[in-house]
């Protein structure tokens, strides 16, 4: 056997050894792979329609008095998706949502959150279901439910004096309608303190059927909204809500009619401040540049002029003739 044959033999043995090692590793890993394939993905997140519950929402103030100013609902929308794999899912499963004053129990191994159970060592844990368990027959489909914010606060064991508290929202997927197996969690915060002071330095500018608003607001105000009332009208007009007071515009007003305007500042939870000092102003009909020019006696008629078009045609004709010459 020469050196070349020696090298080939060594190579062949090496290859066989490597193949056996890989086969052994695959064999050892097989149970782990099986577990990974059958462990269901069971967690999820509850998305809420808002991150905060403000004072009016907590008190359940009549939306008819809140919505025109704030454009808000008193209901808290919850949307969650619990991803279940085929081995864990069954059509007899149910969902049940809860509100709690602390993060509910979490299993250290599986991570399973049981919404009704307190965490280890917790005191004063309160958790109440927002409604009775309901069928969750569809796999990997988002559930959307809404609940009165006042009820959510109460079910979590809070009241509307407890500013800054966090409400823990939790939904369990109950296998066979009884055993928690999947879960989704989220939070919402009670923000019950309105801005410390109303906007100041209200300044109005009139436009054609509109009033433009400008003002200053303190640091906890993040948006502004204005209200205009007139003696001749039974309903107030509300502006858009804008993050800068200079972008607040009240539209749909009657020219030459005097409106009394106040502006409100809102914090992150849309708690409104008190009204600013009021100002009166009437929208006015306005002239754009063209109307102002014509009113001044301007001679331009508008439209496309024909003067000079003949000259242009002549020029183009000359150029065309020049190009045709050999």
């Amino acid at each position: 056997m020469d050196r070349r044959e020696d090298r080939l033999l060594v190579k062949s043995i090496d290859r066989w050894t490597r193949m056996r090692t890989v086969a052994l590793l695959l064999l050892l890993a097989a149970p782990a792979l099986v577990v990974a394939q059958t462990t269901p993905t069971t967690e999820g997140t509850i998305n809420t329609s808002g991150s905060y519950i403000n004072l009016a929402q907590c008190n359940g103030t009549d939306p008819a008095t809140v919505e025109p100013l704030l454009g808000l609902s008193n209901d808290l929308g919850l949307r969650w998706l619990v991803k279940m794999d085929g081995t864990a899912f069954d059509t007899s499963g149910k969902f049940q949502p809860w509100a709690a004053n602390q993060q509910p129990s979490t299993n250290g191994t599986s991570g399973l959150v049981t919404c009704s159970q307190p965490p280890s060592g917790a005191t004063g844990f309160v958790s109440n279901s927002l409604e009775a368990a309901f069928d969750a027959p569809l796999q990997n489909t988002a559930s959307t439910h809404s609940y009165a914010m006042r009820d959510v606060v109460t079910k979590a064991g809070f009241d509307c004096s407890q500013d800054g508290k966090t409400i823990y929202l939790c939904a369990n997927w109950l296998q066979n309608g009884t055993t928690p197996h999947g879960w989704a969690t989220g939070t919402v915060t009670l923000d019950l303190t309105p801005p410390a002071s109303a906007p100041t330095n209200l300044h109005l500018t009139a436009g054609d059927g509109v009033l433009h608003v400008n003002c200053d607001g303190n640091s906890d105000i993040v948006s502004f909204k204005a209200k205009a009332t007139a003696a001749e009208e039974s309903q107030p007009h509300y502006s858009n809500k804008a993050s800068s007071c200079g972008d607040v515009v009240i539209t749909g007003l009657v020219n030459s009619r005097t409106y009394t305007v106040v502006v409100y500042g809102m914090d992150v939870a849309d708690n409104p401040s008190g009204p600013s000092a009021s100002q009166d102003m009437a929208p006015v009909p306005t002239d754009d540049f063209w109307t102002h020019y014509k009113d001044a006696g301007g001679r331009e008629q508008g439209g496309c002029s024909t003067s000079g078009a003949a000259g242009l045609l002549g020029l183009l004709s000359l150029l065309a003739l020049r190009r045709r010459r050999p």
């Binding site: 500018t205 306005t286 754009d288 540049f289 109307t291 009113d295 000259g311």
Partner: protein, 229 residues
């Protein structure tokens, strides 16, 4: 002292830059620039000033883009080109009752279009290596304009006229001749220049009694980039 330094610099630039071969004929040129513009609309009034009332007295930038085709090359280049651009000035609408300024916005917008005949004395650079190209042009002008109030069109039209321009281009090829040769080889641009020109325009429908005057208040000057390719 300063003129002497400038002359020396010009000679040095000229010496550094090999002139373009006389047999290389350009296809045409592209000119991109801008200058301050304020139309002479108020000139028709003895005492009123509607343009100034709404837009104030300061000019706004008019951007211009011109593409020209070389018609003749010999001692210089004669080109025929098409020029367009954009101008917009925004202000506050005035009260119909007392003329005071209101919160509503109004704007005056112009898209000037021109047919331009240009003569460029580029033999200074091509044959003598002096990196300066004087040029002159005449143009038929048509200014298409429109007025808006709160972003809605309220009136539009077009006003015709004519103009004459005198300008000077500084050929940048002289600054870095090797880069210029590479650009010419790769992209086909023979000369890259910075230009400055002055335009006298009469854009009033040739003196029509039914037209306003969109000529620049004084002389319109503009500056920008000129590419000969």
């Amino acid at each position: 002292m300063k003129p002497a330094i400038a002359a020396l610099a010009a000679v040095a630039l000229a010496a550094a830059a090999p002139a373009r071969g006389a047999d290389t004929k350009p296809w045409g040129s592209l000119q991109l620039g801008a200058g301050p513009y304020s139309p002479n609309i108020d000139s028709e009034f003895a005492s009123a000033s509607p343009y100034r009332d709404v837009f104030g007295g300061s000019p706004a930038a008019m951007f211009r883009l011109q593409l020209s085709r070389a018609l003749w090359t010999g001692s210089g280049t004669l080109e025929l080109g098409f020029r367009t651009g954009f101008f917009s000035k925004s202000g506050h609408a005035v009260s119909s009752i007392d003329g005071s300024q209101t919160a509503d916005r109004t704007s005056f917008n112009v898209v000037p279009t021109s047919i331009v005949v240009t003569y460029r004395a580029d033999q200074l650079w091509d044959r003598l290596g002096i990196p300066l190209t004087p040029y002159a042009s005449v143009a038929f002008e048509r200014y298409n304009w429109w007025v808006t109030k709160q972003d809605k069109w309220t009136e539009s039209g077009a006003t015709n006229g004519y103009s004459g321009t005198l300008g000077m281009a500084l050929v940048l090829n002289a600054v870095d001749p090797s880069a210029a040769r590479e650009i010419e080889h790769e992209v086909g641009i023979h000369a890259t220049s910075l230009y400055f020109d002055v335009t006298w325009a009469k854009v009033n429908d040739f003196g029509s009694k039914k037209s306003w005057d969109l000529s620049e208040n004084r002389l319109f000057w503009s500056t920008g980039l000129l590419l000969v390719f």
